[in-house]
């Protein structure tokens, strides 16, 4: 066995470390393109970046890229584009924004606004918003604490969709208005048999946040000030009702949005919850190409006639990071979201509803019955999830979802489970 002095050992380790560095640097060419420009810098610069997940989504990328190209040409600006997958998007932009690697305009899901605004790097777009002609519901989707952080690009909602053909077969002549009528309709569909799930509601924990609008329907505000009201009479009643649907096989176990779409597109579900652009997704999956004609948007049933139907707001906003190119990026955000010709053409291509009064009135949009019905019946009364204001809203939703699932599988009574959910969620309100 050889012996080695400490000096020899250090030399050997030094050699190893040197080899690591040298090999990597020699083997890998340095990044020539560079990342996005660092935050800060010249706000009046004519070069800015636009980060958007839609730039990489098959159904939307061409339409989004054409908006970018047209604006860049017309205004003699340079727009660098970047994209991350939707499911990783928030993590990526948070990390890059914190690291000073992200600037310009950024597409955001309305649910993420609170998390990103909390970083204190977003430009106030109040002046642009005043010029846009946005609808009341749309303008609110970009606001937080009275400040306009985002300009609304598309505003819709997540609501109930019914299959007219199945409902007619089951003898449901009118769309249900109250919870009681809804349950009755579900029982009629169940009586049809044939493996049809009456309501493909979310029952997997990953998507059980869908129960929040039902809790509101039963009278729970979810959040009052900063006090979580989950566990109150309304939320308990909603979960107990959901459990009854589960036990009576009116909703099915282990269903998330993906499963629900699959069931609906195969004509094996009478109702399910989805966003307004679900029509395109469902038709792409369906063997029955006439399914889209059978899809009916309906207002979420209410506890008693006359109550306001509950729906969760859904949509995209464009925010702008303070600093390098922020002025040009703000103008681009205003153009992309409010120019009537641009938004109407965008709707024609991707079916994402515009956010301005003029855009909604454009014949390309107003001539689409499904969209106008959806806007009138569902989006009109849709509201934000109150937990979105917290950066940890995702964990709060998970805490609630896990307890609701415990109720569904009979592990815990609703009252105890929801009290536990509220307790778990409390420290996450930051």
């Amino acid at each position: 066995m050889n012996t080695l002095s400490r000096r020899d050992a250090l030399r050997l380790f030094g050699l190893a470390a040197g080899a690591a560095g040298a090999s990597a640097l020699v083997a890998c060419a340095p990044d020539a393109s560079g990342g996005a420009p660092a935050a800060g810098g010249d706000a009046a610069a004519k070069t800015f970046s636009f980060t958007s997940w839609s730039l990489n989504e098959e159904a939307q990328k061409a339409a989004v890229q054409s908006i970018v190209d047209a604006y860049a040409t017309a205004n003699k600006v340079t727009i660098k584009t970047a994209s991350f997958p939707y499911n990783e998007y928030l993590n990526q932009i948070t990390l890059k924004l914190r690291g000073g690697q992200l600037s310009g305009a950024i597409q955001l899901d309305v649910a993420w606004l609170g998390a990103l605004a909390a970083m204190g790097r977003l430009t106030d777009l109040g002046a642009q918003a005043a010029k846009g002609g946005y609808t009341e519901a749309a303008i609110k989707s970009g606001q937080l604490g009275g400040k306009q952080y985002g300009l609304p690009w598309t505003t819709g909602s997540i609501g109930l969709i019914g299959n007219k053909e199945i409902l007619e077969k089951a003898g449901v002549k009118e769309m249900p208005v109250t919870v009681e009528e809804f349950e009755e309709a579900l029982r009629k569909v169940k009586a049809l048999g044939g493996g049809v799930v009456p309501y493909a509601a979310a029952t997997k924990a990953a998507q059980l946040k869908d129960i929040l609008p039902w809790m509101r329907t039963f009278g729970s505000p979810l959040l009052e000030g900063d006090t979580i009201t989950i566990g109150d009479e309304g939320s308990v009643a909603a979960v107990e009702w959901y459990k009854k649907l589960y036990d009576d096989k009116l909703i099915a176990p282990d269903v998330d949005r993906f499963d629900a779409r699959a069931l609906f597109s195969q004509g094996k579900a009478a109702f399910y919850d989805d966003a307004i652009i679900a029509r395109g997704v469902v038709s792409a999956q369906a063997a029955d190409k006439s399914l889209t004609e059978k899809m009916v948007p309906l207002a979420r049933p209410v506890l008693k006639a006359g109550d306001a139907p509950q729906a969760l707001l859904w949509g995209h906003v464009i925010v702008v990071v303070e600093g390098e190119g922020s002025q040009a990026a703000s103008d681009f955000a205003l153009h992309a979201t409010s120019d009537t010709a641009t938004t109407a053409t965008f709707f024609e291509k991707v079916k994402m509803p515009p956010t301005t009064t003029a855009g909604l009135a454009d014949p390309k949009v107003s001539g689409d019955t499904f969209t106008t019905e959806w806007t009138e019946k569902i989006t009109k009364t849709a509201s934000q999830n109150p937990f979105w204001r917290y950066a940890g809203y995702g964990q709060i939703e998970t805490a609630i979802a896990e307890q609701v699932q415990a109720v569904l599988v009979g592990q815990s009574p609703a009252k105890d489970a929801l009290a536990k959910a509220a307790e778990t969620a409390k420290p996450l309100q930051k």
């Binding site: 080695l4 050699l15 080899a19 699959a262």
Partner: protein, 297 residues
Amino acid sequence: MSVTLPRSASMSRGATGRRYRRPDRTRSRVAAWTAVTVIGLFGMLPVYWLVATAFTPDDRAFSFPPSLIPTEITFDHFTRLAENEHLFRYLVNSVIVSVVTAALSVVVSAYMAYAFSKFRYRGRRSLMHLVLASQMFPQAVLLITLYAVFSATGLLGGYTALVLSFTTFTLPLCVWMLKGIFDTVPDSLMEAASIDGASRWRTLHTVVLPLAGPGMVAAGLFAFVRAWNDFIFALTLTDPERQTLPPGLVHTYLGEFQTAWPDLMAASLVVSLPVVAAFMFLQRYLVGGLTAGAVKG
């Protein structure tokens, strides 16, 4: 001439000298083979599902409940795959990053393992455990730290950041794997080389490393696969032009509202072929390398 036949494992001789089958042993063998088969089939099910979905038409792929055996076959997803120029770029990126990571990991870990195995110095054992302990950090913590470091050094966005970060994960196991192999190389060989006038450097390169060949191939394969499969570091530390296959496939096929499962499965099937081929070609080294340090020679 008499020939002694090997006795079957499940056969024995009784007091009368007659052969009989031992029922307990047979039963336990059947049970063991059944268990192994069930576990094997269970393990292969995701692979089967991947292959079946890759050949299933879009509207059938989403049928509910899903069908285990495809009733209709299509090659459309593979045709679309061939038309997607981005995937080739992701593939090239993956090959560059994985090969460089594997090479770098083997080179660095060979020197480190040699130092751990063949020399005695104060703090050696603590240093070895420290190297292994670095494997225990949560990846999310490392990701943020590495992101900050690469951002500050201007390496973010390129291959370098990715290769260096992957190497930090692969080194500990590679070092421990190779140390076990170097331990089996007899010191007398090195002493003989020394008597013949070889320097330490020459002894390492001409005597020790060639003997550790299978182990180095195994370590390299481990590092290659680690780099090939990573998703989150490849997504975060590189710009889109240099992303590898895992984030590239997610980027291409998973969206806000739609997941192109059949296309994704077809792409996954095709891109996994190089790794499968590499394993088949190098498997004899892999088995030899992984077990080389098991019994000290």
